[in-house]
């Protein structure tokens, strides 16, 4: 971390990427890499547990939206391994900049699920304090969070802090100018960023083949750093690869692009109707790659999975879903005047006057 921004490393080529050697042609962690990574049974059980809980919360999100309690829900089914694996691979001191579908990342970062859900209930534009969780807000404007992560990472480098930054996005984001600009800035400034493409193969209705020419992972080479496509439904692969990429970033070796290939099992959001662009037959082959079933199989192989464990996780998931619902439904609606409080840290007098007029005009009783 001692090289200055002015003495940027030339990236004409990068040496053989040891992270790429961790996966086979299918993007799966090799047996050798798994041994070398030495991920304990407890860690793998925790990854399973978090995925199972998030899947249950995802179902509860759908339920709540169908019951009219949420304005919108963006299902994460199919993303559990990518989100949980990547978020848990980052050190506590690292930062994460999520996109709107990264609900499981927010849960992994310790945000109360019921509080996180208030965003979808229309109570807030941002449900948590980024500094408390080292987690940026959910960003809807597609791809625009990617250069924020790069800017933050440049700041970490300027502060000579060994911090890595993870940024999540879908493959649709990789079509935006901001994404490419951010990749180039990251390469030029050798910023400590791990780019995580959650390639679920659908940008609402547009399939990957009509969205991405070539492969997302290959884009990194053009920006002077390595990229790797991995099996994004295998949580152990995601965890191990992202952990290595974050270590690399923390050691001043620059950015890394991970393309986690997975599938969006549900609609884009509850406002979407996927029957207009795909069939159940399209989805079915991907169900065989389901992340939770595969984590279960890995744990069974290790002799680290039991019926008791499965039941305990299911019970915890149920309990968490009920608590989430209760927290969400008891969350207060903000006073309309509060919108004015949040605009500026140092609001001009004219805005305070406008606020007073606005509040005074509200029906008697609704103003504080």
């Amino acid at each position: 971390m001692v090289d200055t921004l002015g003495a940027r490393a030339a990236h004409d080529s990068h040496p053989a990427d040891p992270i790429a050697a961790m996966v086979n042609a299918d993007g799966l962690l090799t047996a050798e890499a798994e041994r070398a990574a030495n991920i304990s049974d407890d860690v793998l059980r925790d990854l399973y547990r978090r995925m199972a809980i998030c899947r249950r919360l995802d179902q509860e999100g759908l339920n709540l939206q169908r019951q009219g309690e949420l304005g919108l829900w963006g299902p994460i089914a199919g993303h559990e391994a990518a989100q949980v694996g990547a978020a848990m691979a980052m050190a506590e001191t690292d930062w994460i900049f999520p996109y709107y579908r990264d609900f499981a990342m927010t849960i992994c970062r310790g945000v109360d699920p019921g509080i996180a859900m208030t965003w979808f209930r229309g109570l807030t534009h941002g449900a948590w304090n980024p500094y408390e969780h080292r987690l940026g807000p959910l960003i809807i404007s597609v791809g625009t969070q990617v250069p924020h992560a790069v800017g933050f990472a440049i700041g970490c480098k300027l502060d000579h802090e060994p911090t890595a930054v993870l940024v999540g996005f879908g493959e649709g984001s990789t079509s935006t100018g901001d994404w490419h600009e951010a990749m180039n800035f990251a390469g030029v400034f050798k910023a400590p960023v791990v780019f995580l493409c959650e390639n679920n193969q659908w940008a609402i209705s547009v399939p990957m083949r009509e969205q991405v020419a070539g492969r997302v992972a290959d884009r990194a080479a053009g920006y002077g750093f390595p990229g790797l496509r991995i099996d994004g439904s295998d949580v152990l692969t995601v965890y191990t690869v992202v952990r290595a990429a974050a270590d690399r970033a923390r050691h001043g070796e620059g950015p890394y692009l991970v393309e986690a290939l997975t599938y969006r099992f549900q609609a884009h959001t509850t406002s979407d109707d996927p029957t207009r662009y795909r069939t159940d037959a399209d989805v079915e082959p991907w169900r065989a790659k389901d992340s939770i079933a595969r984590a279960t199989a890995r744990l069974r192989d290790r002799g680290a999975f039991s019926d008791d464990f499965e039941r305990a996780v299911a019970a915890e998931a149920e309990e968490t879903a009920l608590a989430m619902r209760a927290t969400l439904l008891s969350a207060a609606t903000p006073h309309p005047g509060q919108a004015f409080d949040l605009v500026f840290a140092n609001p001009p007098a004219s805005l305070l006057r406008e606020q007073a007029e606005f509040v005074a005009e509200l029906e008697p009783g609704s103003a504080e």
């Binding site: 002015g6 534009h125 807000p137 625009t144 924020h148 800017g151 933050f152 440049i154 700041g155 500026f344």
Partner: protein, 324 residues
């Protein structure tokens, strides 16, 4: 006391801010070894090093976007857009993120960032180098928008903008970069929300900002020769608008002319006219007049002067208010 240009005053403001606040960063296209195409950042990289004053790739959207990330990290970035119309690629980052991040994070993340944009015409430039984009920015809640008209104001407003915890769009009237003034520096920062009466008068108020303040003053001088006393108000801040100062002036003079280089249609003058009409309906002796460009893309350099406000057009507008 030394005589310095507005460009140099801005340069001194950046230098003093870099010296006083270790979290200030200055970056953009060509701001490092070149010192900026207008030399506003001249010498800063040599003095403060490549970690605090640096060139970026040519990508305005990400120039604005990394200001968001750096501000979250606790830096106070000062980013330069090379020219007015080149800020448009950054528009989404500025309006969707920089302006909204404080709200989006429930006040947790201050966006203490300045986006400097040289703007305005009258320099004989090619397309995209002479525009007045202020209306785009003032229409976005969450941004403060200021513009100086003199070297002294340039210094004081830029120091205040950099020290303010909120994002500031700092519009620099490039035709005034070479204007000179005697200054004692360093000088205290100026408030970011106050207009300034730059010439007192009694028979009408000319409201101007940035590049048109000089035009307004020239018009007032010419009017004085003809026996009319015109007050000139320099807005300094376009968002918020200092309506108290404007209202007090027009309450006294009963007539107002707003002058800007931007097209009249939906310009700053429209908001000011509406406010004055609402607040001073019984006081105004004539409708508020507006002088600005036509609703056309910024014209080629050889004809730009036909579209830019000049003293004659301002005086014609003043006459309309006086003959109403």
């Amino acid at each position: 006391m030394t005589t310095i240009t507005m460009g140099k005053a801005l340069n001194e403001a950046l230098r003093d801010a870099l010296r006083d606040d270790p979290r200030v960063l200055v970056y953009g296209e060509d701001v490092g070894r070149l010192g900026g195409v207008f030399r506003v950042t001249d010498g800063l990289r040599a003095e403060f090093g490549e970690e605090r004053v640096f060139d970026t790739p040519l990508a305005e959207s990400t120039i604005a976007a990394i200001a968001v990330g750096l501000a979250i990290k606790g830096f106070h970035p000062v980013a330069e857009m090379q020219f007015d119309a080149f800020s448009y690629p950054a528009f989404n980052q500025i309006t969707s993120n920089l302006a909204k991040y404080h709200t989006r994070t429930q006040g947790a993340c201050n966006m203490q960032a300045v986006i400097r944009i040289p703007y305005g015409g009258n320099i004989g430039a090619v397309e995209h180098h002479s525009e007045s984009p202020e209306t785009y920015y003032v229409h976005t809640a969450g941004l403060k928008v200021v513009t100086p008209s003199t070297p002294a104001d340039a210094y004081g407003l830029l120091r205040a903008a950099i020290a303010d915890p909120d994002p500031v769009i700092f519009l620099e009237p490039k035709a005034r970069y070479w204007s000179r003034q005697d200054l004692d520096l360093p000088a205290p920062p100026l408030p970011l929300d106050r207009a300034q009466i730059v010439r007192p008068g009694t028979d009408g108020t000319i409201i101007a900002y940035g590049p048109t303040v000089q035009v307004a003053l020239a018009a007032a001088e010419a009017a004085e020769a003809e026996g009319a006393s015109l007050e000139v108000v320099d807005l300094r801040s376009l968002s918020p608008l200092d309506l108290d100062t404007l209202s007090a002036s027009v309450r006294k003079t009963k007539r107002a002319v707003v002058v800007h280089e931007a097209p009249v249609f939906m310009g700053i003058g429209a908001e000011i006219a509406a406010r004055l009409m609402h607040d001073l309906f019984d006081v105004l002796a004539a409708p508020v007049e507006r002088v600005g460009s036509a609703t056309v893309p910024y014209p080629p350099a050889r004809v730009e002067k036909l579209f830019l406000p000049d003293a004659d057009r301002v005086l014609e507008a003043v006459d309309r208010t006086r003959q109403y």
